[in-house]
Amino acid sequence: MTKTSRWLSKNLIRIYAVLGFTYLFIPVIYTIVFSFNNSGKSNLVWRGFTFNNWRNPCGAADVCNALGNSLKIGFISTTLATILGSLIAFAVGRYAFRGHGFINSMIFLPMATPEIVMGSSLLTMFIGFGVNPGFWTIVIAHVMFCISFVVVAVKARIASLDPRLEQAAMDLYADERETFRKITFPLVAPGIAGAALLAFSLSFDDFIITNFNSGNVNTFPKFVYISAQRGLPAQANVIGSAMFLIALIVVLTAQFVGNRRKTTA
């Protein structure tokens, strides 16, 4: 009895961790496994193993068009949101000016607003202005909600930057422009890159706001949602799994490069 309880107290944290990760990863594993399903119309029941879905990812009607739109929208809104958000972050993170506190708290507002409310009111606004919902209304909406996240992420990085490093650069004959180029930007860059990755995944993932403001344009989440009602093609699993693997590779590469920088040089 005491032996068992001692074993338990020693290994409880491990058991807990295994259960936790199982909980987190079962859906992902399920997605990957079912991307190899020899499905007919619907990918709900296992019907045997096949590579056909991976060989022919665009096999289902409109799936690659939707994916293409999602990628395009993701890249454009990430670029815009990252540039604009970083500029805001530098402004509120570095300078004191009138309305500083107000702007600082306003930044959080889009993050706190329910998506369903934001999506519907954006649509009302677009219609009010006589703009037809489509590709660019999606981009505008995505840039809007991504900016907040970029600002928060980049601002945190700027806050952790020792102002004495910039003073040291100025002391060593670098003017304002050189100080930014050689010291400030390289040191904040990892924060900006992280913010961009976050913005892209938010944009790529978004369904609720996009669904309100997309008109006839199809995106990947919209495609999955709509086709789920009549039977999801296995290609959706293929694309989902591929995105997961790409994200995994990006994260692992970033970590590997980071570690190398720390240990060698």
Binding site: D171, L172, Y173, A174
Partner: protein, 379 residues
């Protein structure tokens, strides 16, 4: 960038420098001349205005009024990157994303120098760390980072090198070693060093001239020996080492000395070692200058009688006594343990004596405890 300022050389002159933050006066009408090639220390508690002064010289803060000159060039409002001044920051502020080599080459490259290798290697040899050129700052120990910060500044051969508590983050042993090294490097490169510190021992070890700062003003300036032997304010007397300061009255004159009455006993202070404005005087004597004797001895020089030992601390090279005087004040006495006689005991009645040349006189209106306690602002 004006070439004239880059090539500016000569003495550093601060004239009526003032810096205020709202109501708070950080630096109060400071005037100072620091000769070219000297090792100068600004010494004081934190919050005394020494770092603000340094930042104004570096161009990181703008003075409220007054001016700063190097030689004949006015640099008061010049940008930091236009001044022939480099700083060794308190936390070193090495650029974490650049190698040690690139950190040191930074200033040279910004000034458009293409071939930096020779100069960087030379200065790396000077600080004895040539093997670390390709490392990153985080891979270095505190002492190594300190030397690289120094190398990064002196490679530019500035007219003026500012050091902001450069040894504050090092442990005692390393600090001692670096004190000697810094002094040696300063002699070697012949640059003007302005060193800010709150550590009186550090200032005395390294500097040719020390300015003791208190509440935005300079209390006294001089060589370390000058300040220690002839303090002119209670703050300096207590901040540099320890002092016994006793209230008294000048009652008579005897040749080149004044006779001072202390609670009925008479002692002397040389007239040229007293800054008392009238008969009210704060009579001063350093603890190690005092001889301590049991009751019966005949004594020469100045003598104070009627003391009783209230505390004895044996600390190896010396014994430190607290002696309670008849008027209730406790005086400190440090005795070298060089005579083979066992220390006196608590409760022993003693006489204190010293050579007249060692005593000094301060203005009688001063607070005898000024500068002796750790400033509440001290971190």
């Amino acid at each position: 960038m004006t070439d004239a300022s880059k090539s500016a050389k000569g003495d550093l002159k601060l004239s009526s420098l003032v810096k205020t933050y709202g109501e708070f006066v950080a630096v109060d009408d400071l005037s100072l001349l620091i000769p070219e090639g000297s090792f100068f220390a600004l010494l004081g508690h934190s919050g005394c205005g020494k770092t603000t002064t340094l930042r104004m010289i570096a161009g990181l803060d703008e003075p409220t009024s007054g001016s700063i000159h190097i030689g004949n060039t006015d640099i008061t409002y010049q940008k930091p990157y236009d001044r022939p001044v480099n700083t060794v920051f308190q936390n070193y502020a090495l650029f974490p994303h650049l190698t040690i080599f690139e950190n040191i080459a930074f200033g040279l490259r910004r000034r458009g120098i293409k071939d930096v290798k020779e100069q960087v290697d030379k200065v790396l040899n000077l600080v004895e760390l040539p093997h670390l050129a390709q490392r990153k700052p985080t891979q270095l120990s505190g002492g190594q980072q300190q030397r690289i910060a120094l190398a990064r500044a002196i490679v530019n051969r500035p007219a003026l090198l500012l050091l902001d508590e450069p040894l504050g983050a090092l442990d005692l042993k390393l600090r001692r070693q670096m004190q000697i090294e810094l002094k040696w490097i300063q002699t070697e490169v012949g640059l003007t060093f302005v060193h800010v510190t709150h550590d009186q021992e550090e200032a005395m070890t390294m500097a040719d001239t020390i300015a003791v700062m208190n509440e935005g003003k300079i209390e006294q300036m001089g060589s370390p020996a000058d300040l220690y032997d002839s303090p002119r304010t209670a703050f300096v007397a207590n901040f540099l080492g320890q002092s016994n300061l006793i209230k008294g009255r000048v009652v008579d004159s005897d040749g080149d000395a004044n006779v001072v009455e202390i609670h009925g006993q008479k002692v002397k202070v040389l007239k040229n070692r007293s800054v008392a404005k009238d008969s009210s005087i704060l009579f001063g004597i350093r603890p190690e200058k005092i001889r301590i004797q049991p009751g019966a001895h005949q004594l020469s020089g100045c003598v104070l009688e009627g003391g009783v030992i209230s505390d004895v601390s044996y600390i190896g090279v010396s014994t430190q006594y607290q002696v309670e005087m008849p008027w209730g004040q406790e005086l400190m006495v440090f005795e070298q343990n060089d005579d083979g006689i066992p220390p006196l005991a608590k409760g022993d009645p003693v006489k204190l004596s010293w050579e007249t040349i060692f005593s000094f006189g301060l203005d009688g209106s001063e607070d005898a405890s000024a500068g002796s306690e750790v400033n509440p602002d001290e971190d």
